[in-house]
């Protein structure tokens, strides 16, 4: 039964931070594509409202109840992903979308939630100081399945966001050195094979561009070059809202998604970047520190994996748009345009809030 006391423990600051970053995102989506903005902006506002509504429902349900459904939920999401590959309609050349009337939804986003719950469930009773080989294989396999299904859509960007989650599980469960070496060898091999067979030409170009920037400013390096010019020309204070983006980033594909921070940086300059970094720093701090107030092992895993997911996506994106990481199509959580990822990010952080608010309810005398 719901204990009313737990609602006093809701982490309003974290919710406020999520909403704040989302609103900043919507404002800059408008700047990025102002001439066709209305439909994008209103859709995103609607998604924000939906996300808040679903979040409040999620908070009512004890995360321990959610954990007990982790496995069926995980199976369901994988069935949907496999079904999409077989029956899905191609939209923008990928089979990532479920279509409900005017709304499209990416099941791959919700799969992140399923994977976090499943890993937390799996390790909730795992009390060893270091990870066993069996646990290592099991967790890798369970993350690997949706990873492959999503990579086949093909949506490598979303698939890659599962890696930090798996990495988080390794870190928390304590990975022995020998496995670290094993991972390095496997990923090296996978890299070699992938380079020769798996990666598309444009993806290779992007990695080459990263290694030798500026060698091909009109081809693959062009997006990177444009986003650096946009940021650099923004200077300390920027060109002003709506003033910059149109001249520099107009032809950047997905500027409302992956390059939204370049838009912020051009419009508001380094101060704008500082604001976004600052907000995310506080936000991530609160997520990571949630592990300290978690009542049980599963809660620690939930908080830590969620923090890894959000944190690494943010880090990869901010590195990507200045050429410190290949352009892989990973958006910034909450800030970039995209309804499904907004909803799933709200739910993932919602899990952490859920854990935090029930830290005392555990104790009964």
């Amino acid at each position: 039964m719901l204990d009313r006391r737990i609602f006093r423990e809701i982490d309003w600051t974290t919710i406020l931070l999520m909403v704040l970053i989302s609103v900043i995102g919507i404002i800059f989506v408008h700047s990025a594509i102002y001439y066709q903005a209305s439909q994008y902006v209103w859709k995103q506002v609607l998604w924000l409202a939906v996300s808040l509504a679903v979040l409040s429902v999620l908070l009512m349900i004890d995360y321990k109840v959610l954990l007990s459904f982790a496995f069926p939920f995980y199976i369901l999401m994988n069935v949907i992903l496999a079904g999409l590959l077989i029956f899905g309609r191609r939209i923008a050349n990928t089979r990532s979308w479920l279509v409900f009337g005017p709304f499209q939804f990416q099941p791959s986003e919700l799969t992140k939630l399923a994977v976090i719950l499943l890993l937390a469930r799996l390790f909730s009773s795992y009390k060893e100081e270091q990870m066993s080989f069996r646990a290592f294989l099991l967790s890798s396999g369970l993350v690997g399945l949706p990873f492959i299904l999503i990579a086949l859509q093909p949506d490598l960007g979303t698939a890659l966001t599962f890696i930090p989650v798996l990495l988080g599980a390794y870190i928390l469960a304590g990975l022995p050195k020998k496995y670290v070496i094993l991972i390095l060898i496997v990923s090296l091999l996978a890299g070699l094979v992938g380079w020769n067979y798996g990666l598309k030409d444009y993806q290779k170009k992007r990695i080459e561009t990263l290694l030798v920037p500026g060698q091909d400013p009109r081809g693959a390096g062009y997006q990177l070059q444009q986003s650096k010019i946009a940021l650099g020309s923004g200077g300390l204070t920027g060109k002003g809202y709506h003033k910059g983006t149109q001249s520099q980033l107009r032809f950047l594909p997905a500027r409302q998604n992956d390059f939204i921070l370049a838009v912020v940086g051009e419009d508001l300059g380094f101060l704008g970047i500082l604001m976004v970094f600052g907000l995310f720093f506080i936000f991530l701090y609160r997520l990571f520190m949630a592990t300290q107030v978690s009542p049980d092992r599963a809660g620690v895993y939930i908080a830590f994996l969620a923090a890894m997911l959000i944190g690494c996506q943010f880090l990869i994106n901010i590195m990507m748009i200045v050429g410190l990481f290949p352009i892989t199509g990973i958006p910034i959580p909450f800030l970039s345009y995209g309804g499904s990822s907004l909803l799933s990010n709200f739910l993932i952080v919602g899990l952490v809030i859920n854990v935090k608010m029930r830290r005392f309810a555990y104790v009964r005398f």
């Binding site: 650096k228 970094f277 991530l284 009542p295 200045v322």
Partner: protein, 602 residues
């Protein structure tokens, strides 16, 4: 007391450590942003100034339109246009004057052309002059360094190979209007694009329109192009094959030359139209340009209305052609058989009013086939007095009158089949029985389009199966759209007997007679002015040619392959003008299709 909390300190330690590592990375990245945005600001600022991008649409060629023999009717030709790039311009005023001199346009005219698309996105070019002459192209090209705001582009321009031939089937293109642009939510069109505005060009616009490409180029701060960044090639639209036969079409147009009227030739089995003439015609090439107000105005203000598609938009009284409907109604309702005879004395007094036959001496006693052959009015007055107008209206609708045929050319009119309800609603009056008498011979308020008459004729030729006329080829796999009227095919045989006699045994349709070709048809003459007025004109020695002249028929009798419908406005009696004209078309068709088939058969 047992331990309430698990010992999670190891996990918390690992979590803290991870956060510290991520924070360090975050601060290093922030330092990198500092370098780009503050340290290298000057460098990037200059790059931003020097390196602008511009996207220009590359127009896609429209699909070609062919006739059924694969002769190109609508082609594309390269043509030059010059566009105004708003983006390249800091202020309009100083450049208006030199540009207007370069293009030989008045400054006011130039301004209005730019203003029309002021609301477009700043990077979308606005076409200010098209269809340029080669000298103009040379001048602009030579001075392009001075005029970075002008952009010269080749675009495929529609060219109708045979000028005015089949203009009413093909339709024409015009520049998309600002209203259409604002209402098109899916951004299908760009400003200045030419889109189909009538007939096939409009109906199949989506099909014919390709997908525009895109050219992204870098430009300097003056707007001069520095080179291509990216290019997406345009995709040509799909080609369309019409059912029109160019030879038949040309011949039919020649026959109607100098007259106002319409000709439809169609295949009664498939509904495919082989010829579609609305006279007078116009040459669509003359105004396939964005700026030709004079030519456009002269065409739309022409009193002969060359733009009007008479085949589907001309509403005419059907005259005696309607007798087919009256006869079928009478046979179906059983008030007569084909052997019922009536006596024609030249006129009939009904409801205290004299109704005249067109043949004043009278036809004497005749049965239904003879009455159709001679187009005897009195016979049909006798049918009219035994029917109600609502019964006639019901069968007229069953046979396809009173509503659009559904041909694949937009703008078709419904025509009018009068009924008591209609009159009450339209005029607020009750129907007079005397009006039914007029309707029975196709006078009164009945209105049809030439295409409806052709479709009616095809239905008779098919012995009761209606088809939907079309101007494109029927896909070989698909069966043409057909609909049964539910009337017995025997009834049609009885009518066809009369239609055959009309052409082949010296009836009113005799003018259409072609030896060796079993043509069945019906003439019609509709009084545009009243009989009294016509008689007065004769007294004054003038020629009262003020009747529209109809002929509609099919051939051969037992295996109909072609329907020909001819309407000549003010052509006089149907037998004199329309029937010989139709006969000529039957002859051309027979020479081309039937003889050839026979030769091959032998």
């Amino acid at each position: 007391m047992a331990k309430i909390y698990e010992d999670l300190s190891l996990l918390i330690k690992r979590s803290k450590l991870t956060f510290i590592i991520l924070s360090v990375i975050l601060f290093l990245v922030l330092a990198f942003y500092w370098k780009i945005q503050i340290w290298d600001h000057q460098k990037y600022w200059k790059m931003a100034e020097a390196n602008h991008l511009r996207s220009l649409p590359i127009p896609a060629p429209r699909g070609l339109i062919y006739d059924r023999q694969k002769i190109i009717l609508a082609d594309n030709q390269p043509s030059f246009k010059v566009s105004w790039l708003k983006e390249a311009i800091k202020a309009d005023q100083p450049v208006i004057e030199p540009v207007s001199q370069l293009l030989n346009l008045g400054p006011e005219e130039l301004k209005s052309r730019i203003e029309r698309y002021r609301w477009l996105q700043p990077f979308e070019p606005v076409v200010i002059k098209d269809n340029l002459k080669l000298e103009e192209v040379a001048v602009i090209e030579a001075r392009k360094e001075e005029f970075p705001e002008l952009q010269l582009q080749v675009e495929p321009r529609r060219f109708y190979s045979f000028g005015s031939t089949a203009a009413h089937v093909l339709g024409y293109l015009q520049e998309v209007s600002p209203e259409e642009l604002k209402s098109n939510s899916n951004r299908k069109w760009r400003g200045g694009e030419m889109i189909g505005k009538s007939a096939v060009e409009k109906q199949y616009d989506d099909y014919l329109t390709g997908q525009a490409g895109q050219l992204i180029e870098t430009v300097d701060s003056q707007g001069r192009s520095l080179g291509e960044v990216n290019r997406i090639e345009p995709i040509k639209g799909q080609d369309l094959i019409l059912s029109i036969d160019l030879d038949l079409q040309k011949r039919a147009e020649e026959l109607l030359q100098g007259k106002e009227g319409a000709v439809v030739v169609l295949d009664p089995k498939t509904g495919e139209c082989l010829a579609w003439v609305s006279s007078p015609s116009y040459d669509p090439n003359r105004f396939i340009t964005r700026f030709s107000p004079e030519e456009w105005l002269s065409i739309i203000s022409d009193p002969a209305k060359p733009l009007e598609n008479r085949v589907i938009r001309g509403l005419y009284s059907p005259g005696s052609i309607f007798k087919i409907v009256t006869a079928l109604t009478s046979l179906e309702t059983g008030i007569i058989s084909d052997r019922t005879t009536f006596f024609c004395s030249g006129s009939l007094n009904l409801y205290g009013q004299d109704f005249a036959c067109w043949f004043k001496p009278g036809h004497g006693s005749l049965n239904l086939p003879e009455a159709i052959k001679n187009s005897c009015n009195v016979y049909f007055y006798q049918l009219g007095r035994r029917l109600t107008v609502d019964t006639i209206a019901r069968y007229a609708r069953t046979l396809g009158l009173g509503k659009a045929t559904g041909v694949d050319i937009p703008g078709e009119k419904d025509g009018l089949v009068p009924s008591t309800d209609w009159k009450r609603k339209a005029q607020g009056e009750a129907w007079f029985p005397g009006e039914t008498i007029s309707v029975s011979i196709g006078q009164g308020p009945v209105l049809v389009t030439p295409l409806q008459v052709a479709a009616l004729t095809a239905c008779v030729a098919n012995r009761g199966i209606k088809i939907r006329p079309r101007v494109t080829r029927v896909d070989g796999q698909k069966t043409p759209e057909q609909e049964r009227t539910g009337l017995d095919s025997d009834l049609f045989e009885k009518i066809i007997e009369g239609l055959w006699r009309s052409v082949n045994e010296g009836g009113t349709g005799h003018g259409a007679y072609q030896p060796g070709f079993e043509i069945c048809g019906k003439t019609g003459s509709t009084q545009v002015i009243s009989r009294e007025k016509a008689e007065k004109m004769i007294e004054r020695g003038e020629v009262p040619a003020k009747t529209h002249s109809w002929f509609s028929g099919f051939a051969p009798r037992n295996d109909p392959r072609i329907v020909v419908t001819v309407l000549v406005e003010f052509g006089g009696m149907g037998g004199q003008t329309a029937a010989p004209l139709a006969g000529e078309i039957f002859k051309v068709y027979r020479e081309k299709y039937v003889r050839q088939a026979n030769l091959q058969g032998n």
